[in-house]
């Protein structure tokens, strides 16, 4: 039952995708239906096969790349659409001539179906019961195929006025794929995008100020520096991410809005001119429905990404103390099993300072000790999900096999000594490392 609820958003998105495909290629419904079902089945089967044969990061990476690639394509198409809308008699490009052909009628639903099927399959839980394990994908395939038929039936009931431009069609498809993928934290693209925007803005502003020789913050009024400091904040990442997220669909809507009306100057009856123009305006308004749908799907995806419905392994930190020589010792076995593959958090207090750190056995079989903070985010800490740890602040996923390596949003590694009895680390080094990290990530300029 939980499975059904979990997959409902993806299945709804899949239905709307098929509906759009049918509306976008009205003369080739048969090809669209067959290739959509085939693609969905291939996506489900391919994901399951790859996740059995390889680490799950491989099929997830393929899906993320496909969805990310489609977003790039959407950006290119959106810019081209806007450019075209401002130029009269722009010739059709060779690529555009493919839209509406048999190749497109087979290819687009097949690719869309494969990605949608892969996303759906990634949401299937791992079940202990082997019968259920086999039944779940079959049920998903059945649901996918039935919804294709449902989409066909719904599409026939839609008004014929609801036209789709190729760019709007792509916007809606990509938006729905992004919506589907955002339901899984492992496939979500919005949070990593926000993170990259935050870093990119920080770098750009810093570089820009140096390039045009603007004085440092020592010389600038604190109020002015406060505005500049805003550009280094988390909000810039979020809102910058939102701009990048929504802009392609908005550009496409704008392109439709700016499309020149048909020339009626050669018609000498005013009433006829007005009727033609009114018809053209109404058609343009109908064409705006699909970009609007894309905007709704993108908003839903950003919401799902910001408020993910996922639980993480995040144990309460255990208090530890140091010996008079300043050594902290964590036994290999005892209250917790250090080598159970789970993240174990500890809290060390010295003076007024509190240091959070964790010990984890990486997939390579090595213990690692790291601060519960990274070198760039505020120290909100990490949670563990399957094969990953997640930075709570920026929601970046870090594969377990890279934990213990410095850089980026990875937890800051702490030097330690592993002996037979457990892990030994220097309390002063730990406190200094925490102080350096927290100081650099909570200052107005360096913190995100």
């Amino acid at each position: 039952m939980q499975l059904v609820f979990k997959l409902i958003p993806q299945l709804i998105a899949w239905t709307v995708m098929v509906l759009l495909l049918l509306r976008g290629m009205p003369g080739r419904r048969g090809a669209v239906l067959i290739s959509a079902v085939t693609g969905f089945s291939l996506g489900v089967a391919g994901y399951l096969l790859l996740s059995r044969l390889f680490p799950v990061t491989l099929p997830l990476g393929i899906i993320r790349s496909a969805v990310g690639g489609s977003f790039f394509l959407l950006w290119s198409v959106a810019v081209a659409a806007l450019y075209r809308s401002t130029v009269r008699d722009f010739p059709l490009l060779r690529v555009e001539r493919l839209v509406g052909t048999i190749y497109c009628a087979w290819g687009a639903p097949l690719l869309t179906g494969m990605v949608a099927g892969g996303i759906g399959a990634s949401g299937l839980p791992r079940l202990d019961n082997s019968v259920l394990q086999l039944l779940a994908p079959l049920l998903l395939l059945l649901a996918g195929a039935l919804l294709v038929l449902g989409a066909r039936s719904a599409e026939q009931r839609l008004t014929s006025s609801l036209g789709v431009t190729p760019s709007a069609f792509l916007a809606a498809l990509v938006a729905l794929l992004l919506f589907s993928s955002s339901s899984s934290i492992l496939l979500d693209l919005f949070a990593p995008l926000s993170m990259k925007v935050m870093k990119g803005t920080h770098d750009f502003v810093h570089q820009f100020m140096e390039s045009i020789l603007i004085p440092d913050h020592v010389f600038i009024r604190s109020a002015i520096w406060g505005y500049i400091g805003f550009l280094f904040g988390k909000e810039v990442g979020f809102w910058g991410g939102m701009v990048i997220w929504f802009t392609p669909a908005l550009l496409i809507a704008l392109a439709i809005r700016l499309e020149p009306l048909p020339s009626v100057a050669h018609i000498r009856q005013g009433a006829q001119r007005r009727r033609l123009l009114a018809d053209a305006i109404r058609t343009k308004q109908y064409r705006l429905v699909i970009p609007a749908l894309a905007l709704v799907a993108l908003a839903a995806a950003a919401y799902q990404s910001s408020f993910p419905n996922v639980e993480y392994w995040d144990p309460k930190p255990l208090a530890v103390t140091a010996t008079p020589a300043g050594e902290i010792f964590i036994p290999r076995k005892g209250e917790v099993e250090l080598e159970d593959g789970r993240l174990h958090k500890y809290l060390y207090k010295q003076g007024g300072k509190e240091v959070r750190f964790f010990v984890l056995l990486t997939p390579a079989g090595k213990l690692t000790v790291d601060l519960d903070a990274c070198a760039i985010c505020k120290p909100d800490g990490y949670g563990q999900s399957e094969g990953m740890v997640l930075c709570y602040y920026c929601k970046t996923l870090i594969p377990l096999d890279t934990v213990g390596k410095p850089g980026g949003c990875n937890p800051v590694p702490v030097p330690f000594t592993e002996r037979g009895d457990g892990v030994h680390l220097d309390a002063l080094t730990l406190v200094n490392s925490w102080s350096r990290t927290v100081q650099s990530t909570t200052s107005s300029k360096g913190g995100k």
Binding site: Y83, V87, Q207, P215, R221
Partner: protein, 417 residues
């Protein structure tokens, strides 16, 4: 050859070129982001090192110039058309060929009544309303040229030399013939942006430069390099004696100690000791860098072991447990970048041009956008053209009614392909 030049001109002057080039660099940035944390710095370094990428970037200022030439040419042709010259149809939103009317007097009266200025002869009539956006567009394109030319020059030619400018020491130059730094003045500023001002007064070096004063912004040029003050600090002389060491160590250190509380450390040469210093915050709230009254807080470390902490005023001495630390001389110091980069001037220029373009564009676009129409007899035919830089729907209505009016006197309409 001519065909090749035409194609080249078409590419260089295309409006599609900037988004394509910028899109390419964006993709490159994203690609680099997968592998490096310092993405922008890496992108800049790659562009600097690979001539092909620099050439690609150079297409942007080149495109700005080509667009200026192209659009200026189109503007001039439209101006000539208003005076009755041949009308190039591609310069207008709508162009039609009709059978020639008897005259334009009735139409001229109608258009004048609707607020259009008119100019005409027996063979042509031009009517227009509002102000052209062309000057704003030209400023914008000039800004684009300056911006990208500035970025390109900055990327490929920027050279930075970081030096410590110390009060009472020669101004640092490669040849070593800078004038004496007479005074570094750090004071509160009353401006809306700068909270504090910095002046570096340099005596005549004997090279014909005279006395010079370097300010914060805009940074002044000194022998072809911008003087760009970065951080403040103290250049101090210290004298140290430890009971476990043979003798007194005397040395100088240049430490970025500003603002008060900021720590910087120096290794005491020839000893296992390290000195960590910071400026104390005066109780009266004054700024020690401004007043010159310095009190140094210090930590003395031997390896990682903290040996001693205390404070010593500039010009004073600290003595405890056989240790002696004196700071006989403490002077203001500014860590300064000497930046050789003429692209900066172009980038500043671009900022001014963009501001001017926007100030010009906004009111014109909102309140007085240019709308024009043109009627020109060519034998038995009449060429009618219309164009609007804003308010196009209303203008198109007036244009269509004008055509209707002409049709009343003559019949037979033919739309131009």
């Amino acid at each position: 050859m001519n065909r090749l030049l035409r194609v080249l001109w078409g590419i260089l002057s295309s409006r599609a070129l900037p988004p394509l080039v910028l899109g390419f660099f964006l993709l490159l940035y994203i690609g680099i982001a997968f592998f490096f944390d310092e993405t922008l710095i890496m992108l800049m370094a790659i562009t600097r090192r690979i001539p092909l990428l620099a050439a690609l970037l150079a297409l942007l200022p080149l495109n700005g110039v080509c667009r200026m030439i192209l659009e200026a040419g189109r503007y001039l042709k439209r101006r000539q058309a208003l005076s009755g010259a041949v009308v190039p149809p591609e310069l207008y939103d709508e162009t039609l060929l009709l059978s020639a009317p008897g005259g334009f007097s009735q139409l001229e009266g109608r258009l004048s009544a609707q607020g259009y200025a008119t100019r005409g002869s027996g063979h042509h009539l031009a009517a227009w309303q509002g102000v052209t956006l062309f000057p704003a567009r030209l400023l914008y394109l000039a800004g684009m040229f300056c911006l990208f030319a500035g970025i390109l020059i900055s990327l490929v030619s920027r050279g930075v030399s970081r030096q410590a400018v110390v009060e009472g020491a020669p101004f640092p130059t490669a040849a070593g013939n800078g004038g004496m730094v007479e005074k570094i003045i750090f004071e509160k500023a009353a401006g809306p942006i700068l909270a504090r001002n910095l002046f570096i007064k340099v005596a005549d070096s004997g090279m014909g430069e005279g006395e010079q004063t370097f300010r914060l912004y805009p940074p002044a040029l000194f022998r072809g390099a911008f003087v760009y003050p970065r951080y403040l600090g103290i250049s101090l002389a210290y004298r140290f004696f430890a009971p476990d060491q043979g003798g007194v160590v005397e040395n100088r250190a240049v430490l970025p100690l500003y603002p008060p509380g900021k720590e910087a450390s120096t290794v005491i040469a020839g000893t296992p000791y390290r000195l960590t210093l910071s400026l104390a915050k005066p109780e009266d709230g004054s700024d020690p860098y401004m007043t010159g009254k310095t009190l140094f807080l210090f930590k003395l470390l031997k390896g990682d072991e903290l040996v001693l902490t205390g404070s010593v005023p500039g010009g004073g001495e600290f003595v405890r447990d056989g240790y002696r630390l004196a700071i006989p001389d403490a002077r203001r110091m500014v860590i300064t970048d000497f930046v050789v980069d003429y692209g900066v001037l172009l980038i500043w220029g671009a900022g001014l041009l963009f501001a001017a373009a926007f100030i010009l564009w906004l009111p014109v676009r909102i309140f007085f956008p240019l709308r024009e129409m043109l009627f020109r007899s060519q034998g038995e035919l009449l060429q009618a053209c219309s164009r609007a830089e804003g308010g196009g729907r209303r203008h198109a209505g007036v244009f269509h009614e004008a055509l209707d009016l002409l049709e009343l006197s003559k019949s037979g309409v033919k739309a131009e392909e």
